[in-house]
Each structure stands twice: as C-alpha cells, then as structure tokens.
C-alpha cells in the first residue's frame, strides 16, 4: 500500500509541478478529471473494453495524462481485485474532419497515450503539447484482469492536463513496435535459446515527419531486458535505451495471489529532452525488443511511444545527443533484472477457496498415438491430464461457444493459441520432453491442463 501511495504521491507531485512551473504560469492550465462508464468483472474475468470515452471538450494542448482503476466509492482498486493490464487512448478526430494517422498504414485514428503495468503517465517537456480539438472524439482500449473470485465493478479514472488559450509546440505521437505493424501488437517467444540467450525482435520504422524526439516511454512485459531505438543513418547509434525496473520480491505484483501472468516491470523510465533528438522525414529508426530467450514467454510486447515535435527541416548532421536528455523514473526501488517467475495453475478446493494446484483433478490419459485430441468443452480442457510421446501432434478443439484460449503457464517450450471459439482448432507438435502446464486465461480457475511429454 505504501508503494501505491508513493506512486500516487509522485503523480500528484508531477501534476502540481506544471501548475507552478514558470513556463506554464502565463498560460492557463487545467486538469480534467474524468472517468469511464463502469465495468463489472465476474470472478477471474478478463475484459477488453473498446469504447468511446468522455473528452475535455476543449481545444488546447495535452501536456500530462494518467489513469487508474476506481471502485464505486472512488477508491483505488489494486491488482488484488482487478488489474489494469494496459490502456490506450486513441484520437479518432472530429466528425467529418481530416482523418488522424496512426504509425501503421490503414488505421485512421491516432493513439496518443498508452501504458501498462508500468503505469507511466504522459509527461511532455515544458513548451510542448499534444494538440486536441474541442470536437474530437476519443476511444479507449484496455485490458482488465480480475484477480478475485468475487465480482467487482470498476471504472477507469483518468486525468488530462491541458494548456488552454496559448500555443505549444505540437508533438506527433508514434507507436513504434519491435514487431512492426503485425496484426497483434504482441508476439511469442519460443524459449529454445541456450543459457544466457537474448531474444531480439526488430523492426525498421520510416519516419513520417521531420522533427525532434522530445519524449518517449516504453511498454514492456515481464522477462524483458528492455528495448532500444537506434538511428541507422548515424552509425546505428542508440537514441533511446528503455530499461525496465521490476518490483522487489515484496511488491504486490508478486504477492497478490493467484498469479495469473508473468508480472511486468513496475516502471520503464521516461525519456525527456526539451532540446530533442533530430530525426528526418524518410529516415529509418531501428526498434529492438530484448527478452529472455531461454524460457518461453507468451504474448510479450515492446512498444516505444515516441513524441516528435514536428519541424519543417531537421539537421542532416549527426550531432551529439542533447545534454538535457534524461530518464525520469516513477518508481525508485526495484530490481533491474527480471525475476524468474513460474506461473502456477490454480483451482478451487473443496472448501471453495482458490489455491495453486499441481495438476487438475482426474486421471491421466496415457496416449501412444502420434496425434492426441483435446477438447475445450463445458468450460473444461479434456483430458485434463495427458501423457504423450515426444513428437506427438496435439490438436486442441474448441467446442464451447464461449471464447477460450490455450496459454502456457510453464513448460520447456511455447504453447499458445489466440482467443478463439467453437469450431476452431489449435495444433502444436510437442518435440521437447517435459511437463507443460496450460490454462485458458479467460477461465483460469476451471480450464487447466497438464501434458507430460515423454522423452
């Protein structure tokens, strides 16, 4: 609780800072404190709301933003009940107006702030702002994960700090993902690298405008070593080195049971420079996500949210990095190395309490066949315990009309399906012996499976 208090304190301080900063004194700044409609999550439910949200309905420049979950009485909701896995605010533009541009072609709206477990507020350096119109519409996409057996009703509360009635240097937000413009922002890591192996995913992003990078923050998942933004034009030098900070063993993200996913960093550092790093229209930036490659990791992300102050022309020379470049941290204490976290399977005991389990109930089905059939039906994975020979092709058939998935909790290699429903089949040939613990992350208490792959 003290940690959360500390974070809240920091946010309050950060918001207060702008009010007293000399640069902002002449301009009128105003904080708009808003919230979404309520969402009810049943026990262990995960939801992905994609909704239109209230806006300040004022023209001006956004300089700061943050968000958190609140209950019906407005109290902060922690991961013990519901976790805000990630949130993105998207500007859809004004009705009939010019379409907004995202970093990926073919998407006519512009994400302008997003964060995940790192809970990094938007913070632009003095003099800069993200321009918004009074009639622009905002959408919000988020992922909320219940960690509680009880139903909870929560809202997302968000604060938008704006400069009104005075111009700011406009920033253009770019969402630079290590996996490019792939359909899903996440990617999987197989976990087949030798000890010390670092998994790298890389994409070259063409800059749509000239200008200066004045702020950048990163969204990373658990087991990340960080991500970098490099400039190939200037001897591939590193412009931004995003480093994750993981919570101490005592942190709520490791203590809140049941553990349903690999906890992400509690902070990723926020790059800021009032001078900015020049980038030229048409040049490429190399964006690299760095993860542990020795163990499988499900649906990781590496996204750098880069804010560029647009300018007609940027210098061609590769000048040294600006001296005012700095990394701001929302959290002080933590671990720089990702802790190894084994995700357990969970179930409900005869006493009605949730606890970690070694394996689901039921006998083990011993299969000698080169293929093994598994069905996801009536909110169960059957057979719940399965033994197969090495090299067996396992077919998971989705029978329920409700959406399910197969997600790896632990095991020697990756297994992981998309969220699919009735009629879908997910297949994987299991060539690496060992014990694979699997679950549906949409039904983590009822849908679990253990597959032993014999050597």
């Amino acid at each position: 609780m003290r940690r959360l208090g500390g974070l809240a304190g920091f946010l309050v301080a950060a918001f207060a800072l702008v009010a007293i900063a000399p640069a902002a004194a002449e301009a009128r700044t105003q904080t708009f404190d808003m919230q979404t409609r309520p969402f009810t999550l049943s026990g262990f439910q995960t939801i992905f709301p994609k909704i239109a949200v209230p806006t300040p309905e004022r023209a001006g420049y956004i300089t700061q933003m943050d968000a958190w979950l609140v209950d019906a009485r407005g109290r902060k909701v922690t991961i013990r009940d519901v976790m805000l896995h990630h949130i993105v605010f998207i500007n859809a533009g004004r009705p009939g107006g010019a379409p907004k541009r995202s970093s990926c072609a073919g998407r006519s709206s512009e994400p302008f702030w997003g964060t995940g477990e790192e809970m990094q507020p938007l913070m632009l350096p003095p003099g800069y702002g993200y321009p918004v119109g009074a009639r622009e519409r905002w959408n919000m996409q988020a992922m909320l994960m219940s960690h509680s057996l009880r139903a909870h009703t929560v809202r997302i509360r968000y604060r938008v700090r704006m400069v009104l009635g005075e111009r700011r240097k406009r920033v253009k937000p770019l969402w630079l993902r290590a996996n490019g413009c792939a359909k899903h922002p996440s990617y999987d890591i197989e976990g087949d690298m030798p000890p010390g192996g670092v998994h790298k995913r890389q994409h070259l992003w063409r800059m749509p405008i000239s200008g200066r990078i004045v702020a950048a923050s990163a969204h990373l998942h658990g087991s990340s070593y960080g991500m970098t933004v490099q400039q190939p034009r200037c001897a591939d030098r590193t412009l931004i080195d995003h480093k994750p900070l993981y919570g101490l063993q005592s942190d709520i993200v490791y203590r809140a049971k049941p553990i349903l996913h690999e906890p992400g960093p509690i902070a990723t550092g926020h790059f800021q420079s009032q001078t900015g790093i020049p980038v030229r229209k048409g040049e490429f930036l190399r964006v690299t996500g760095l993860y542990d490659g020795t163990r499988p990791h499900v649906q990781v992300m590496a996204i750098s949210h880069v804010y560029i102050a647009a300018e007609r022309e940027a210098p061609r020379a590769c000048a040294p990095p600006p001296t005012d470049a700095r990394i701001l941290w929302t959290r002080k204490s933590g671990r720089t190395q990702a802790p190894v976290v084994e995700i357990p399977l969970n179930g409900i005991g005869a006493d009605g309490q949730v606890r970690e389990i070694d394996r689901p109930a039921g006998p083990e089905q011993f299969s000698m066949s080169p293929t093994a059939a598994v069905s996801l039906a009536r909110e169960r994975i059957l057979p719940a315990n399965l033994s197969v020979a090495r090299g067996t092709r396992v077919n998971w058939d989705f029978v329920d009309t409700a959406t399910h998935n197969i997600t790896l909790a632990s095991g020697p290699r990756l297994i992981g399906s998309a969220n699919v429903r009735k009629g879908a089949r997910y297949s994987r040939t299991l060539n690496t012996p060992g014990t694979y613990k699997l679950f549906c992350y949409l039904h983590p208490i009822t849908m679990t499976q253990v597959i032993a792959v014999r050597p």
């Binding site: 009810t40 049943s42 026990g43 057996l149 009880r150 139903a151 909870h152 009703t153 409900i348 006493d351 009605g352 309490q353 009536r378 909110e379 169960r380 039904h443 208490i445 009822t446």
Partner: protein, 113 residues
C-alpha cells in the same frame, strides 16, 4: 371462474396435506451459468416457512449462493457442481446473489411466508 378457484383451493389443500408441518418440504432452485432458476431477469421464488431450499448446480462455472439482504445472512462456498441446502426458518424477503458473477448478472429473490 368459481370452478378455477375451487380447483386451485383443492390443489392448495392437497399440497398442505402432502406436506405436514412436521416434515419440511424441499424446494429446488437451479443454479445455472450466471443465473438462478432461468436465464434472464431476477426470479422470485416463494416458499413457506421451514421449507428446505436446495440450490442445485447445473452449469459449468463456479458459483455461490450469498444472501446480501434479508432476516438471516448465509452463504454457500464456491462450487461448480453439487448442491447446497438451507432450511428457511425466518419469514421475510431475501435478496440472493452469486458473489462470483455479481448481483447485476446473477441474482434472485426468495420470499419466505
């Protein structure tokens, strides 16, 4: 009309005879996936005092039976199969929800006369 009434009265009398006050009757309430009794709405179940109400799980998910308003508070554990029985000894109106799915999703009213 009088005929219908008399039939109803006769039926009521039969029910009374079939359930002497000494042996409590059992009323079964279905616990489905995110509903009680039937899918949709908040059903009302009316029983007489001393009736044993048996909630019987018929769905796939975990649910519980929790009284959130009424003369007596009680709750079952979270279960995905089986049944939970409670003898209703106090008259009144009970608001019952599944705490796992929340009152907006899964609730019922139990009236004990």
């Amino acid at each position: 009309m009088t005929r219908v009434l008399s039939v109803l009265l006769a039926l009521a009398a039969c029910a009374g005879l079939a359930a002497p006050a000494t042996t409590a009757t059992i009323r079964t309430v279905k616990v489905g996936d995110n509903y009680f009794v039937r899918d949709g709405g908040t059903p009302t179940v009316t029983v007489t005092r001393d009736t044993r109400v048996r909630w019987r799980w018929s769905g796939n998910s975990f649910h519980d039976v929790t009284v959130v308003g009424g003369p007596v508070r009680f709750k079952s554990r979270a279960m995905d199969s089986g049944s939970y029985t409670r003898r209703m000894t106090r008259r009144g109106t009970y608001r019952i929800v599944c705490k796992i799915h929340g009152g907006a999703d899964q609730s019922m009213t139990l009236r004990v006369r």
